[in-house]
């Protein structure tokens, strides 16, 4: 791949067939074209046969467009939306386990948790485990601050995103029609 100078974090939302092998096909397309996936989240939708995938990738705008086009071409892909940060909402969930042995440490962690609206979901004699949701900035911010304690483990889901207002990934557009044209039978 050519060098990209204006690469930034881009978020793509996809609707794909809920079939074995499809996720690897999608993931493969990114590595095949030379992109590294920053985050990948997949889950069920309102439609039982369809999975929604949200992918964060580092790329500039022209390459992101190319990537979307290559994704749209894949047979199991119904829809690809390149989300725009201004009119989309992003959320991610993080579990974070910190070492907190003394009463003072525990208090400090609990106060920080409060500020970030995190909840304590597990307590042991030596550890606290928190859950927090938010966008990337918030989760990274909280992890940074908690790093003054000893962080034992972090698990993040990868970001999911949805557009504000009435707009959805299913919206018709001329472009979408054009992509589906070639997938049609006879």
């Amino acid at each position: 791949m050519e060098k990209m100078t204006n690469a930034k974090r881009q978020t793509l939302a996809l609707l794909v067939d809920n079939e074995p092998g499809v996720l690897s096909q999608i993931a493969r397309l990114f590595s095949r074209k030379g992109y590294n996936i920053e985050a990948f989240a997949a889950g069920a939708t309102e439609n039982p046969g369809v999975t929604r995938i949200t992918i964060d990738v580092l790329a500039d705008d022209p390459h992101t467009e190319l990537l979307c086009n290559q994704l749209r071409k894949l047979y199991p892909v119904y829809s690809v939306k390149w989300l725009n940060s201004e009119n989309s909402i992003y959320r991610e969930l993080m579990l974070i386990k910190v070492l907190a042995e003394g009463g003072e440490q525990r208090n400090d962690v609990m106060q920080l948790a409060n500020i970030f609206r995190a909840q304590i979901i597990d307590v042991s004699s030596t550890t606290l485990t928190l859950v927090v949701t938010g966008d990337d900035d918030k989760l990274t911010g909280m992890a940074n601050i908690l790093s003054e304690f000893k962080i034992l483990e972090i698990a993040r889901t990868g970001v999911v995103a949805i557009e504000r207002g009435i707009a959805t990934i299913n919206d018709e557009s001329k472009e979408r029609g054009e992509f589906n044209y070639g997938k049609n039978v006879l």
């Binding site: 749209r72 047979y75 054009e178 997938k183 006879l186």
Partner: protein, 568 residues
Amino acid sequence: MRLVGSEILMECLLEQGVDVVFGYPGGTILNVYDSLVKYKGRINHYLTAHEQGASHAADGYARSTGKVGVVFATSGPGATNLTTGVATAYMDSSPVVFISCNVAENLIGKDSFQEVDSTGVMLPITKCNFQITDVDKLASTVRKAFAIARSGRPGPVFIDILKNVTAEEAEYEFVPREQHKEKGLLKAIYERDMPDIQKPAVDEEDIDKLVSMIKESEKPLLICGGGVVRGRAHEEFNQFANLIDSPTAVTVMGGGGMNGRNPLVTGMIGMHGSQASNIAVNECDILIAVGCRFSDRVATEPETFASQAKIVHIDIDRSEINKNVRTDHHIVGDAKEVLRLLIERLDQQDHSEWKKFVFSYPTETKYDEGGETLNPKQLCDTIARLMPMDTIVSTDVGQHQMWAIQHFHFDYPGQLITSGGFGTMGFGLGAAIGSQIGNPDKSVILVAGDGSFRMNCHELTTVQYYDLPIIIFVFNNQTLGMVRQWQNLIYHKNFSQSDMDRGPDFVKLADAYGLKGYRVNNQKDLEAAIEEAKASGKGCVIDCILDIDEMVRPMVGGGSHITDFMRI
């Protein structure tokens, strides 16, 4: 009716109208081969010498007939031997359904004998692929696979069937292909639970816009790409070009999409494009490309390609638009349909001045006449003159391929069978075999290089066994000519590992396979050999000796401006 999996597979092939299969048996696919006996006469299986040969044969069959090619192979090495053929079909959008069987369910995932993750291997080189683990889904998956292979932009589809599935029983009802849609059997594709999957009509506004762009243009150029061939849109394309009165360049894959003798043809375009084509690209004010993807061999330098022109791209695959060059207008649709709509709205244009300019440059490369040895053009011209006009020409990859495309005239889709996108040496013989089987009433020739021919010449056994009257011309320059040409021009004549200064003797080789061989190094012997070969009605090898230093001319270096012709 209850049938076992392997019989359901046979019935599904019959539903599709398939009567020809190429392949090679092995452990996991033996149930299928067992059923072949029962379907003898209805499904004709051609056994090749190697799975790669079978893959190219099915590809050549598909390209030359417009039907879907079918291949059988066993698991493990059988499947991996197909891969070069699968990728070749993928790059050139050829509809082939590749079917292999994998180890039985209880052995999957255990690194069992001849087990490989075949669908994983095929992932990046197929349009779509399926593994069938449940006999109840066998028929529906095969139907879907065929529909996908031939729909939209065609391409290869791979199906991997677990061995146990081929032996298990299921309920099956025969439904001819034409009824698949109305009976709801392709529902998964048609509706996909999504509202907008139905084929939209071509956008009339887009058409009107192009019509007015054409009317404003004084210096139009058309590019005929592989999409015209795959879409069998040659009649419409010729009519369109005539109406606009536009010079027309033809890509490697576009050969046969435009009548090769139409005086509007400027010849090949790109790296080995004619001067007329490449200069016209640079000078035109509108460039209309139909079914072409502006590969690096056509748009050698994408940033400056057709820099004075508005670029208009007509293609069935939306993901090709703006992929390699930036376009000013595009129409997504089937070439035949789009061209028909355009023709309806256009009246006859006249571009005599512009044509005079374009055709002041050569459309074909000239060679010194009357030398002792054969030159490439003389060789092609002689073959073309002595063979029937509608002869199907299959090629391998290298200089001989370029010469064949430069000097033969192709008049209809499927007349030129060549590996344009993947550039697969060793493609030609298998492809010629498939073309001959698909077109028993036509003459088929192979134009091979000595290097390429060596790669898969074991398929001579297939030519002999099935008594295929393919005339094989080996353009024998005793070198990997195209490699030598690059070494000559770019690598300071450092001819590293490109000499073919070794056997076999192709005449003796032909003989070993029970075929007649000829060696010719002059016009008279060449003519005599062709006449004898034609009269015999048998396959044969004509070893045509050429000078080691012949070059393909003109040439534009990769990454260079399209008119930056090298001095050769």
